[in-house]
């Protein structure tokens, strides 16, 4: 995002934000913060820059610091730029029992990056995640909104190819869907 580009939601996203705010009683619009940050992250390249957080603050009539303290608390909010596909591999006990550690190693080798890094082409960011409530279908990973479960190394290869082949929507494309709905 270029620095001088004005930060503003598209009309659709703005409408969605207004819809979200209405879910809470008048004067409690701060409650909309987390859902609105999800929309903002989807709209603005998958991460929350300081100007984006300021913008969200102004929409909700709260201070910027109220946004920042929240955004930095929750793991789903990226405060630094990320790749087009963020791969999150669950690593907690039940998934570990089923090979999560091996899965991370495989992805690191395959993508030639370490956990927490983004590929040089900006395509993939590899992260590990704590339990994603998919223990019965371990090992698993989440890409965007989608859960990929009962993974095998072959399946992982296929998924990565699919990611490369599809026109990549913003990472949390869920909100776009929501806008259309």
């Amino acid at each position: 995002m270029s620095a001088d580009k004005e930060i503003k939601f598209s009309d659709d996203a703005y409408a969605l934000v207004q819809k979200i705010i209405k879910r809470y009683p008048e004067g409690k619009q701060k409650s909309a913060l987390i859902p609105v940050l999800h929309v903002a992250q989807a709209e603005f390249n998958g991460w929350l820059s300081a100007p984006v957080m300021d913008y969200v603050a102004s929409l909700l009539n709260i201070t910027s610091i109220e946004v920042y303290e929240v955004a930095s608390f929750y793991t789903m909010f990226n405060l630094k730029p990320v790749g087009k596909c963020v791969i999150e591999v669950c690593r907690t006990g039940p998934c570990w029992l089923m090979g999560a550690e091996d899965l991370v190693k495989y992805l690191e080798k395959k993508l030639d990056i370490k956990e927490g890094q983004t590929t040089a082409d900006g395509m993939f960011t590899l992260k590990t995640a704590e339990c994603l409530a998919s223990c019965g279908t371990a090992p698993m990973m989440q890409i965007g909104e989608k859960y990929h479960e009962n993974l095998t190394l072959n399946k992982v290869d296929q998924i990565l190819d699919e990611c490369r082949a599809t026109v990549i929507e913003p990472i949390s494309h869920w909100s776009k869907k929501e806008i259309k709905a």
Partner: protein
């Protein structure tokens, strides 16, 4: 029967709603149970867990460990403060905390005054068993700010700074970002202190148990020879301060937690802006003008010169050719002496003080309505009120500690009505902001009164039992046309109606007003209408209600109490009444004049007319602060003798015949009376700089020099004299004032008064008055040619003419006066943010840097007069309040244009 519980098997009585910690501390002292995240002025938080105790329901029964700070005491429970496992628990917690804290205590600024250190010592941590690992010891220090510092390698994540910033100051600058082990304090958005929105109140530094947040004065360091409790010299809040002195110099200032006024809080002026006191610019010797130059002289030379000259003028032109202006920055005792000097030694009632230019309409208006011209209630009443009405005041800047409390009220969602032409900080959080056109207070209050009557919300019983004049008042108000009032004020009448209903229906409503009420041609009338609002709703005479002027200067209440106005002597007794005159004559043992004295603006006129020949100014910078500078200068120029008692060579002092170097509040003793009538002790922390004298000493010297035997200045003797003449000081003695002072009236037995008019009013029944709105003559005369209205205000960082604050680090935070201008007005004149703007009125013009903001409405401008570089008062008018002659600083008709550079003030 009161319930009880056991602490270490001994039975104690529980107080209602008590936590275990407060229960233990009340009975067994502060030290028994250690804490880290607890602080006296913050809500319980429960995060450090060091305060854990064991609680059992039966003696020696199975116990559960509870964080004592937030757990209510269970009746009949058994609290064990030092069971084995609790002792181990505390030790382990501290040990864990120390794994991420540098162990450089010997070189740490808070060595020996560090809560972590003392708790660690108390729980007996001898070694830290945890292996080396990831920590936060490499965090960088932040030394960007003139006052605030941080070193987050020392942070123990207790949240005290965050809570102080939120709960005490209400600024929300500090917060905890990240999560878990990554939790870390940030300032605004990962900023340094200087870049952040920090208002430098220092509450976080004082709250921090380590040196993670501190200040450049190292206020928490124990390196001090002594600590002296005194009262702040800036605004009328009257914060108590604790001054640390090292080697005869002021080292730092903190706010005592047991202060009833400020409960451990204060602002950047009180806490940090003290370094003016020994600034190189301080005048250190008397100066006498010889051959046009101010030349150093001895005190004797100066006194002789003055005494001779005053005697000569009095003989030649009579005593009424001499006048004195006292200072609301000086102590009660000094003010008392000043008016006594002018009345008893010189023999004239030409005495006034700077209350004239701020709250004279309040004193007069409230006297007419209730009989007493002072705040009816106390700030502590904010705890009991449901609705606040803030008119013409910007307390978060001008009265920061009270402002912070008002803001907390608003933040808690309690009804807050702000009447102000500017969208002030408080207005941003208010329930109703009535953003009226400057100068239309009377119209707006009439609207509120109208709606209270038409909505039938008046307090009938109160009105019939305790007031008079209501029927007349009512029929007059009901004749008003709301559509017309709406046009005059520019405020939607429906909004006014809602606000009026909110005020009238609140169980307890409290009003506050400032100079936006008084500094108008209808200032006194406005005060009386505010009083009407309180009367019509019965909001007077109990906790959580009343009319509460936010007094501007630290002792403006006291200066008036002491008789520094022409028509009333010490204790507000009528100076023009022959009966009372006798009382004063007996007490002062001199003949006291009965003739009408001059008020400040009249003094200037009299000087220009050649009738006033000598003027004595006690620390008053009339050239920079009084309106229409050029006229004031002409008045100064025309005097034969201008004596100025000052700390610095102010704009006014430059015109002096004699300058007497006075002393600052840090160097003198006496009392100040704050805005809630609280008489508090000022105690000198250091001696006056060599060559200077306290202003009281100067007055005593000159009185003696002119033949009046006045005892040497010391507060104890002076208070004895004052309490003998001022009725409401009757029970005041230096010794019984204690740490927190007394609120007058103080009865002979020393009991004081938190709330006035509880049973009856000073004047018997309170009286309703009505007034019609009248446009200021300034607008009628100049409004066409000068279509913009400029209204003056104050900024947090500076105090009035800035004489003191500009000589402290505050000047690095706010460097200049700026002109607030609405974006549309700026666009119309092609003015960009930061451009210089020429602001011109009928009187003259000044250049100010533009700050484009929607805090002001279109057509309205606003600025300050803290800096002599601008000399804003060149453009202000000599329109005054019709009754009290308070100048109309708040409505000035001007025109604007973009200018190239700085307009130079002609000297």
């Amino acid at each position: 029967m009161a319930s009880t519980a056991y602490i270490n098997d001994i039975n104690y009585t529980i107080q209602d709603g008590e936590t275990i910690l407060s229960f233990v501390r009340r009975n067994l002292g502060k030290e028994l149970v250690p804490t880290l995240c607890d602080a006296p002025n913050l809500d319980p938080f429960g995060s450090c867990r060091v305060c854990s105790v064991d609680v059992a329901l039966v003696k020696d029964g199975p116990a559960k460990s509870q964080a004592s700070c937030h757990t209510p005491v269970i009746p009949n429970s058994y609290i064990y403060t030092h069971s084995d496992r609790i002792v181990k628990l505390r030790k382990n917690i501290i040990e864990l905390v120390l794994t991420d804290h540098p162990l450089d205590c010997l070189t740490c600024e808070v060595n020996n005054n560090c809560e972590l250190q003392s708790v660690a010592a108390k729980v007996g941590v001898r070694n830290v068993r945890y292996p080396e690992g990831k920590n936060h010891l490499d965090r960088k220090k932040d030394l960007s700010h003139p006052y605030m510092t941080s070193d987050f390698s020392k942070c123990i994540n207790c949240f005290r700074c965050v809570r102080a910033c939120d709960e005490v100051q209400g600024e929300f600058v500090l917060t905890m970002a990240g999560r878990g082990f990554d939790s870390h304090i940030v300032k605004s958005y990962n900023n340094s202190f200087f870049e952040s929105d920090c208002v430098s109140c220092g509450a976080c530094a004082q709250a921090c148990p380590t040196s993670a947040i501190s200040d450049v004065f190292e206020s928490k360091s124990i390196v001090a020879d002594k600590k002296v409790r005194t009262v702040c010299t800036y605004c009328g809040v009257g914060c108590n301060l604790e001054v640390s002195v090292l080697n005869g110099k002021v080292k730092s200032i903190q706010a005592p937690y047991n202060a009833e006024v400020n409960q451990g809080h204060t602002c950047l002026k009180g806490r940090f802006a003290f370094s003016f006191y020994n600034h190189p610019d301080r005048i250190r010797t008397p100066l006498i003008r010889r051959n046009g130059n101010l030349e150093p002289a001895t005190w004797d030379e100066a006194y002789d010169f003055i005494a001779d000259k005053l005697t000569e003028i009095r003989q030649k032109y009579g005593p009424d050719s001499i006048a004195g202006i006292s200072s609301a920055r000086c102590t009660n005792e000094e003010n008392y002496l000043m008016q006594k000097f002018i009345r008893a030694v010189i023999g004239t009632n030409n005495i006034d003080c700077c209350a004239r230019v701020c709250h004279s309409p309040t004193a007069l208006g409230m006297q007419k309505a209730f009989g007493t011209g002072a705040a009816t209630n106390s700030i502590e009443d904010l705890k009991y009120t449901d609705c606040i009405l803030v008119i013409g005041a910007n307390p978060t800047d001008a009265h920061p500690v009270t402002g912070a409390k008002l803001k907390q009220h608003a933040l808690k969602g309690k009804t807050t009505i702000v009447v102000d032409p500017r969208r002030t900080e408080l207005a941003k959080f208010a329930t109703y902001h009535l953003q009226l056109k400057p100068g239309t207070n009377v119209a707006l209050l009439n609207m509120m009164l109208y709606y209270i009557i038409t909505e039938k919300l008046e307090a009938k019983e109160f009105i019939s039992n305790r007031t008079e004049g209501f029927d007349d008042f009512c029929s007059h108000i009901l004749k008003l046309d709301m559509v017309e009032m709406e046009k005059i004020t520019g405020v939607d009448k429906e909004l006014v109606r809602k606000a009026a209903i909110a005020y009238a229906t609140a169980p307890n409503a409290m009003s506050f007003h400032g100079l936006g009420v008084t500094e108008h041609t209808q200032g006194t009338f406005t005060v009386m209408l505010i009083s009407d609002l309180a009367m019509i709703t019965g909001n007077i005479g109990r906790k959580g209600v009343g009319v509460n002027p936010l007094r501007g200067q630290n002792n403006v209440q006291g200066a008036a109490d002491m008789g520094c106005q022409p028509h009333q002597g010490a204790g507000y007794m009528n100076a023009y009444d022959p009966e009372i005159n006798k009382l004063y004559e007996d007490y002062y043992k001199r003949s006291i004049p009965l003739g009408k004295g001059l008020k400040i603006p009249e003094m200037f006129d009299a000087s220009i007319a050649g009738e006033l020949k000598a003027l004595w100014l006690m620390g008053e910078d009339v050239v920079q602060t009084d309106p229409n500078t050029n006229k004031v200068i002409a008045a100064m120029d025309n005097l034969e003798l201008l004596v100025v008692q000052e700390l610095f060579l102010t704009e006014t002092a430059k015109y002096a015949t004699v300058i007497l170097p006075g002393a600052s509040f840090l160097e003198k003793s006496g009392t100040y009376t704050n805005g809630e009538r609280r008489i508090q002790k000022v105690q000198n922390a250091v001696d006056p700089l060599p060559g200077t004298k306290s202003d009281g000493e100067i007055m005593v010297d000159i009185m003696n020099r002119m033949g009046y035997a006045q005892e040497p200045y010391d507060p104890e003797t002076m208070l004895k004299e004052i309490s003998g003449i001022v009725p409401f000081f009757k029970g005041v003695t230096w010794n019984n004032l204690g740490d927190n002072g007394k609120q007058w009236p103080v009865r002979e037995d020393g009991t004081d008064t938190e709330i006035l008019h509880t049973e009856s009013f000073t004047r018997g029944l309170a009286k309703f008055h009505y007034f019609d709105f009248k446009e200021s003559a300034e607008i009628e005369k100049n409004g066409k040619e000068y279509p913009y209205i400029i209204t003056t205000n104050r900024e947090l960082e500076h105090y009035n003419s800035g004489t003191m604050t500009r000589r402290t680090g505050n000047v690095k935070i706010l460097t200049e006066d700026v002109l607030m201008i609405h974006p549309d007005d700026a666009a119309r004149h092609l003015i960009n943010d930061g451009d210089m703007v020429c602001v011109e009125s009928e009187r003259g013009k000044v250049d100010i840097k533009a700050k484009i903001t929607d805090e002001v409405k279109e057509g309205i401008l606003s600025t300050t007069f803290h800096f002599p570089e601008v000399m804003l008062n060149i453009i202000t008018s000599d329109e005054h309040d019709s009754e009290a002659l308070c100048p109309e600083y708040k409505v000035v008709a001007v025109n604007i244009r973009k200018s190239k550079g700085q307009y130079k003030v002609k000297q």
